[in-house]
Each structure stands twice: as structure tokens, then as C-alpha cells.
């Protein structure tokens, strides 16, 4: 049987959801035998294979122009798209800047901070969106994994089910935020 192709991505988040994925520790060794881990921040592959992947897990919210483009690409290239963690599911902490004007925010951080010379970053770096959005506001999401981060056991359970072509059974504390 062909191995299931899995990709992972991170947008506006803290890398904690990916760390939680690594926190499955030695289960990683078993999982490594069952999946073909493609483009991911933890591998050397950075773009989707031409014919896409089976499952993509995305950490983080959509906060800048790059994320907006990438989340659409991810939808196109993935059979199953999973929102991994609260930032991806609700916007969580990154969305706390909603209500602030991004230009004013940049002015305050770089222009007037305690110890700074006042140059404002607008070149090369991707522009911030006016509002940070959860993934499901932009594309259709198939599964949501809650938690900040989702516990390693939950990620392992969900990924193993998906890899076997089953629907992950999420109950009780699996559905807890935070």
C-alpha cells in the first residue's frame, strides 16, 4: 500500500503546535514508517508535490498576504485539510491584534518604542492583513484539532486515524480549547 502523503505548514502561530507534534516522541519512529512526510517546516521539502498530498496540517492563523496565498494553495493541493491548534481554529492569540490598525501598530513598535531609531519595515517583508483570520474563514477545513497546543496524544490519534482512512473520533477533553 502506498504511504499516505502528509504535509504540514505554519502561518501566524508560535511553532508550539509543531513542537507538540514532535512531542509524540518515540511514536514518531512508528509514524515515520507509515507516512511519507512531504513539505513541512521540519523537513527539507518546501513546496507541495505537483499532484498534491493526502493530508495537510496547518498551524497558525492567516495574518499576512503570504498566508492568504499559501492557505489557498494548501486547499487546492490537499485531499484533507486539518486546522491544527487554536490559532488555526479560532485565530487565538495572533487575532488579539484585531481592532488595531496594522500601520499604527508598526508605527508604535518601530517608530516610538523604548529603544529604537524609528525606521519602519515596509520593504520586502509581506504586508499584514487588516484582520487576522482563522483558516475556516478563508478556505474549507475538514477537521479541527483544538488546544494551545493540541496535546501530542490527540495529534497522534487524529493523524493515525486519517492515515488509516478513518474519521478521527474526538470526544471529551479532545474538544477543549487552550
Amino acid at each position: 500500500m502506498a504511504k499516505v502523503r502528509v504535509a504540514t505548514m505554519w502561518f501566524s502561530g508560535c511553532a508550539g503546535c509543531h513542537m507538540s507534534l514532535l512531542d509524540i516522541d518515540e511514536t514518531l519512529i512508528d509514524l515515520a514508517g507509515k507516512i511519507d512526510l512531504r513539505n513541512s517546516p521540519i523537513t527539507d521539502l518546501k513546496v507541495f508535490p505537483e499532484d498534491g498530498v493526502d493530508v495537510t496540517l496547518i498551524e497558525g492563523a492567516v495574518a499576512n498576504e503570504e498566508h492568504l496565498h499559501l492557505v489557498r494553495t494548501a486547499r487546492e493541493k490537499s485531499k484533507i485539510l486539518v486546522a491544527l491548534g487554536d490559532c488555526a481554529v479560532t485565530g487565538n492569540v495572533p487575532a488579539m491584534r484585531n481592532g488595531l490598525d496594522p500601520d499604527q501598530m508598526i508605527e508604535d513598535i518601530y517608530g516610538k518604542s523604548v529603544t529604537s531609531n524609528g525606521a519602519l519595515p515596509y520593504e520586502v517583508v509581506p504586508h499584514l492583513l487588516g484582520r487576522v483570520r482563522p483558516l475556516a474563514e478563508v478556505v474549507r477545513i475538514d477537521y479541527f484539532l483544538h488546544g494551545c497546543p493540541p496535546p501530542a496524544g490527540l495529534i497522534a490519534k487524529a493523524v493515525l486515524a486519517l492515515v488509516e482512512g478513518k474519521t478521527p473520533e474526538l470526544t471529551g477533553s479532545d474538544l477543549k480549547f487552550g
Binding site: A15, G16, H18, L28, T115, V124, V125
Partner: protein, 473 residues
Amino acid sequence: MERQIHIEPVTRIEGHGKITVFLDDKGDVRDAQFHVTELRGFEQFCIGRTLWEMPGLTARICGICPVSHILASAKACDAILAVQIPPTAVLLRRLMNLGQMVQSHALSFFYLSAPDFLLGWDSDPATRNVVGLVAANPELARKGIRLRAFGQEIIDRLGGKRIHPGWAVPGGVNQALTATDRAWMVERMPEAMSTIRETLALFKSTFGETKDRGVLTEYSSMYMGLVRPDGAWEHYSGVLRLVDSKGKVVVAGYDPSRYHEIIQEASEPWTYLKFPHYVPKGYPDGMYRVGPLGRVNACDHFATPLAQAELEEFRGGAKERSGRVFDYHYTRLIEILASLEEIGELLADDRITSTEIRAQAGINAREGVGVHEAPRGTLIHHYWVDANGIIEKLNLIVSTGHNNLAMNRAVREIAKMYIKKGKVSEGMLNRIEGGIRAYDPCLSCSVHAVGKMPLVVTVVNAGGDVEATLVRD
């Protein structure tokens, strides 16, 4: 080598680490810029929140080293409560910080760097990662995974969660260490110790010669870290010290809460990451380095015997400090050893299981600074509050930021080695990446890649035109 280099007129590529190299009229490298593309605005949206939320909120800056932010934040809050936290709380916070040092350094070494060292820089990128390491050397991969897990498990057993534990609070910590968990840690110590000693031996047998460690360029700079009053390596309290490349102390015993008198930040239009620098030397000359190499170079000695022996071997009797970028890997391993030694000492101290762990107080000061050593370097949280403890202003200097000037310097030096008279030679992208990677930048706040970095290097000639764009996916 499986790496792809396209030279094509690409103007913009998403999700890549971005670098621009500027040439002079002879076609040689004049400057280089490493662009950090992520900004979340913690310094803005935390305004108006309560002091009590800050450790939990700022933990979300980084899921690789959340404990660092939790502890720096709790220390800033302690200062605002104007309390001295109970001795056991100090011991427990130290224990958690060391657990984090072990897990984060092990992640950097075994998951990120070892695939390069052990599978080879030229091996297939499709398997040059931790999964490939599992296949090629399951024995070592398992040991590395278990060493990181030991650090994570210390954090979990103390704080109830591996990532973002809501445990360190203003005034101390909210949960004591149980006898059972202490016993578990004691039992797992010998295995962790033997893994790090074996790994150090393996590293030295492969890279024992200093010339082998010059691969990622070397340059002199100042080095900064916390030290104890007697000059020993320190990670949680202590005083700020800067030394120069000759090993001469430039700033001695500085009260960390006065950091702003010696460190200021500059910003540039082409990156979201600011540039801290040493004020008396100005910007950009006031470059200093932090993190494993920064701390190990800043201290006089280690307080624990095994790490001290490694330090003596590393320095080889010289007073000059190593400026080799590759030595970040070496000093990272020495720090894992030092951390494990101190974990052993803490676990042997019977005060560690006391339940007197938290001082209760209200708002007694309007300003507080918390400084400690995160795995990647000195971390500074500075808060201003109103009478009700509502945050009015905050300043955060994250560890990776301190190394921003140094990382840009590494990129420039490597570009100089590889671009001559407008000609770019092969292998530049890998070396540039290795140079940045050695700093183990906590790039959840920047280029967003734990694995191999996808890079775009834009070469701009003296006339300001784009000469070439090199892409590695």
C-alpha cells in the same frame, strides 16, 4: 547534490527566508540583508491586559521556548509586586529553565543539525531530516529523542503541560514538585547524562580540529550573557556581562534591570526583527552575540566539574574567545551537560519538594524588568503598569534579536566567500543557511522554518538592478 538553484527573474516568493546581497561596481559583495518576515505585535496587543495574564500570554510568542517567556515575564511581575519569591520557587524555576535548556538544545542538535553532520551535507534533501535520521541511525535518533523528551517531561511534571504550562506566576510558582516526580527525574538522570557524554565524544571525534569548525566563517564580536557574581556561567539570575574577542571584560556585573542603558534597538525598513546593539559602540558597530557561544564565551568558568572540564578543552588554554559560528553547536552540547549537572544538584536538594512556593502581593511598583537566559540567549521583558496592574507599555527584547546583527554579518561574510566579480559560485545557499542555522534562531518569530530553510537570495548590482535571484525550495 540534490539542491536546486534556479537563476531566474523571480520578484517575490512566498514562505521563504529572504536574503538580499548588494554588490559594488566591481561586482564584489558590499552588503547583505537577512529579512525576517513575521510580525505578530505582542508589544501592542498586550497593552490593556492585566499583569496576571502576562506569563501565559507571552508564552505564546514561542512554542519552542515558551518556558523562557513564562519565566522572564514572571520575573518582571515579581518586580512589580516588589516581592522576593520563596527559595523553593527559585529552585523550581531554575529546574524548569534547565529542563527547557536540555529540550531546546537537543531539538536543535538532534532534530535539526545532526541530519547534516551524520547523513552528510550532500545527502538527499528528501530524507535529510529527523525522519531520515531515524532510518539511518535509529540508535542515536532514539537517544536524541529521549534526551529531548527528558527535558520536556521535567517541564510537564512541574507545570502539567509540556508546551505553555501555566505554572510560573507573579510571586513564584503555583504547583510544588511531588516526591514521585522527583524520584522519576532522579531515575532518568543517568541515561540523559550518558547520552550527552557520548554525543560530546562523537562530536569532538568528528570536529575536534579547530580548522574543521571554521566551515561557517568566523569573525570577532563581543559576547553577552548572565554570569554569577564570581564569573561562573549562569542561566536564571546573576548579572549581565559583555566580553570582547580577546576575553577582556567590557561590561562587568551590570544590573540586568538597567539593560536599556547599554542596549538599544535599531530598526530597518527591510525586516520585522529589530537590531539590539551595545550603546557605547553605536549601531551597527556595537554587535554582540548571545546564546550558547555568547554565554560560554562571557563566563570565566562553570560551577560544575564536567562542564568545566569541557570548557577547558574547548578554550585550549587560550584567553581569546572563539568567533567560529560553527562553535555554536559545540557550546550547545557543553550547555546540555552543564544543565544536566545542575539538574542533578537541584534534585539532591531537599528544599526542592517544599510547598512554600508563592508570595502573594498586590501592585507595589509601576515598572518591572525580568531578565534571564533562554536557550537562544538573554531574554528581556520590561513592563509598565497602572495602579490596578493594567499594562500601559511593554518592551520585549527576544533572544534571537540580539543575534540579528551577527546573523546578518554571517550572511555577508559567506556571500563574500562565494561571490567574486559578479560571479556566484555553487554551494552558497547551503553555507548561508548553515550560518543562520548555527544560531538556532527562534524563527517562529522569523523565517518560519525548523527544517532546511527555503531561501531566496536576490543579488543587486551597484546600479540597483537585480542581477540574479537564486532560489532553493
